[in-house]
Symmetry: D2
Subunit: 303 residues, 4 copies
């Protein structure tokens, strides 16, 4: 299989298709990114890396960080996080508080904002600095020591973060936060504001395609834990479009409003695509089209 050729074909096709959707603009610095950017990178289980388009341009990883904070908590604490967060699809838009209230403060899964706040809270207790701990994992797995928080984006998130603050206080009202609301929010906003390239992210998430084995060759997660993170990604990773992603793309994915999506083909590779214009469900329009083509061309759907 000519992986480099496949990626270049995809970049060409996505360019021809044009980029539909809208760049996230709820915080000013996100809204400044050009909607015409598009990059793709594949990191193979054997360590080889292929990329095309704007695969070396950094972008804000946003909710993609939720994979890594979850993996970190599971690496420290195995299974105890599941007492505080469910792992079922949410069935409602990604930032809804309705189910949180109906379920008495237990978020539906770790990839909606409420669940990610609980995971960050737990990581904060376990490590003393959740955002630094996520950054540390991303640096070591990507091999790029310069991975860092964009402080302007982090400050912007905090300024526009009434909805996340509302959710954090609601979690606290149900006794489902261990740390002060302000500390949880500050860590959460920082980890969302990490900047990385497609290459960085593909390398950093490769452990999920290698049954938990880290870039250094040692187990970061057990094979069982790695499978389970992938299962939660497939059923819950793309907000209210998990069914659509499974149907069209057929592998576990996690997207962010910065326009990036990480996809895992278990045993084979991790893929990162980036296109800043978002569809109605908050996922990259170019990204989902590119992943659809990728699994069609490679026939690597898990189904």
């Amino acid at each position: 299989m000519d992986m480099q050729g496949i990626l270049e074909e995809i970049v060409e096709d996505i360019g021809l298709l044009g980029r539909h959707g809208e760049v996230a603009s709820y915080i000013p610095s996100l809204g400044e990114v050009s909607p015409d950017k598009f990059g793709i990178c594949v990191a193979m289980a054997d360590g080889s890396v292929f990329g095309a388009g704007d695969w070396l341009t950094p972008f804000s990883i946003q909710s993609i960080s939720k994979i890594f904070s979850l993996a970190l908590v599971m690496s420290y604490d195995y299974d105890s996080i599941w007492k505080r967060v469910f792992r079922e699809p949410s069935g409602t838009p990604f930032n809804s508080m309705i189910q949180l209230e109906a379920d008495l403060g237990i978020p539906r899964n770790p990839f909606i904002n409420a669940g990610a706040l609980v995971v960050t809270d737990r990581l904060l207790t376990l490590t003393g600095d959740a955002a630094a701990s996520v950054r540390g994992l991303l640096r070591s797995e990507s091999g790029n020591p310069e991975v860092d928080v964009d402080d302007v984006v982090a400050a912007s998130e905090a300024d526009h973060g009434h909805r996340n603050a509302s959710m954090a206080h609601l979690l606290a009202s149900y006794g489902n936060l261990e740390n002060p609301v302000e500390d949880v929010l500050s860590n959460y906003f920082k980890q969302c504001a990490l900047e990385m390239t497609c290459e960085d992210l593909a390398k950093a998430s490769l452990f999920l395609a290698r049954h938990g084995v880290s870039s250094g060759g040692t187990p970061f997660l057990s094979p069982n834990q790695s499978k389970r993170v992938n299962a939660v990604m497939l059923t819950c990773g793309t907000y209210d479009a998990a069914g659509e992603f499974a149907y069209r793309v057929g592998v576990p994915c996690k997207g962010g409003v910065g326009g990036g999506i990480v996809a895992i083909v278990p045993g084979r590779c991790s893929v990162t695509v980036w296109g800043p214009a978002l569809g109605p469900n908050g996922n990259s329009m170019a990204g989902i089209a590119a992943l659809d083509q990728f699994t069609a061309k490679t026939e690597w759907s898990i189904f």
Copy 2:
């Protein structure tokens, strides 16, 4: 791999664990089944079949029939059913009408009752007799010409079917039924009341593990359609427990209140388990435990 040995181990372990949960009793004939029954059958892609426990005892397939009516509609009509039913997890108990109302009569997916009624309605239009058409597929794929409807169960479903009647009228009020409510319900109750053994069901669903190829070797679904049915099963096949199944079992599954579950390992095999006692989400307790062991022992999780 000694498949027969694996299945016998599972039967033994499940026996030791005991059977928790409750047999469905909303219709009298279902409630008469012993909760101690347990069977498992694996049909391999190459046609070989392995079974253990009560794998040759017939049971009511109930909602498992939804896989076959969906596959039939897709075989006739490719993709047009998706204008009338979504393919997203429901996030609420399996028979809820709340989302149906919020979504103006478009069911969340074809595996909740509302969605299955729409699929049955479409199949009725396409074939003139939806229940006979499902029975025909099951007979030809299982190789058992005696597969048939249990008329007592079908009549019982109709007598206790106010909830399904309510849903069908609600669909009709939104213009999402093509046939009279009574006809759709009658076909739906009949297809749910089909009786089959684990062996019958494992053979009949094998086409989903063989990329759509039927028992006769000809394509029933395209590879792409087969993948997509599997994707919908994984994200939506087990009511409100899709996330839990993906996490623990890691392959597409579809259960019924008769206690059966069909699982598909794409490219490898189909599995049917049967244990009549159900957990709180309406899935077989013994069945989920058995499938958990099966994918652990075989390492055939798709993640």
Copy 3:
């Protein structure tokens, strides 16, 4: 106070304001009524009657019938209906099934459709013919022996009644109907299809302004029961606009999609207005404006 003068002023003002809104058209015969019709009638506690505009033109009373079926059930059975229906405002559009499901088959109040179906079911058990029993009450209280069901409208309701059928089956699934679904629906559609003039309706509802005393001078309801029907009308009688009516009009009201509204000024009079064009909440636009003026001019708000 010159009541006749007040009513004529109102007819003139409403004419100047014009009639906004849309005539109900979900059943064909309702849609044929001219939106320009407007009538008002006041029946005083002493028996005198005043009217203006189209006050002698018959119209379909629709949901206004719910007052009379409730009063009848209470007259036979005092308080036992409240075990099967709540008396709280619904907080959602008038025909929603969401709360019915959340409350396990107990409707929020007797004036939403689900609650009225339960009341009709009870009246059917108590009298053997709920629709005839409502018709009998309306004939005797209005003094008009020709009050009758419009059979074309009743048949039309049944033909377009999937939503009510859905609700009735849902009630039955929770065990909250005593009679067959078809019988309850048929009685319900008939009582909704009764035709009356403003004069008929003002006279027929006068017992609620006379502390339960019937046109014949004998108690139909006790003073306490009469108060309680008025209280339920005020809090629940106008679908999702009960707060708006209380705020603007300030007396108990019950409207129907035929464009009629009955208002009760306890101790003083009953008022009926009729204007077929409906606002977004399903209440007569001209009617609410007229009642607003009526209580302003008379200073008869109960607050």
Copy 4:
């Protein structure tokens, strides 16, 4: 009518009935109050005052303060508050956020917490100090210059106020707060923590029974505004039990978790009852029973 006798009878009867329910304990200082306390006070439109039981013991007015902040905002600003808050019953428990989200940040009415936060926000903008402004009104109308905030309770509310903080941030996320979240919360907690006796409260709310006329004889609200506050109290004043109150008591009421309830008989009197033990809807159990008796004995139901 021997009003003093009526009140003494009620105190005796309520004593015989015993006090059911539970004292609010979400903040420690509220939980310390004895559930056996019971007081009642009636302030007549002519200025005479009658009291019985513990009518001179101060208690925390809590949500009863919402009447006064609403009246103040209406006195300054007539009707503009209704662009930011609806006046419909909520149909869900008093502190729910579900409807707030469904309605895009517009609370259902000014007497649920979300709506009261919006009213307090507006009052803060209008006066610069919402809590002081409420306190000023209560002092002048009750004639008791010592009415004041219990600082321990106010601090306690803030410490246990995650739910209100969550709601305030959600309102802010929809752009429905004019002032910083912290300032709105601090004013809100202070006005809820005001301490008053039954006598103070009956006198302070008398303007609503006198068509808006203040204790000094000057108009505080217009007659129309006064009616409208009463209408909103009747339909929305008692959380999810507005229908039950209208049915049993039959006059506008507003309760608080401190166990007080204010009731208004338009044109006649205001009544305050206090019994700290609450029923499932957050209203005083003894209070509702006492008001039921009061309107039965006086025959002053508005229906």
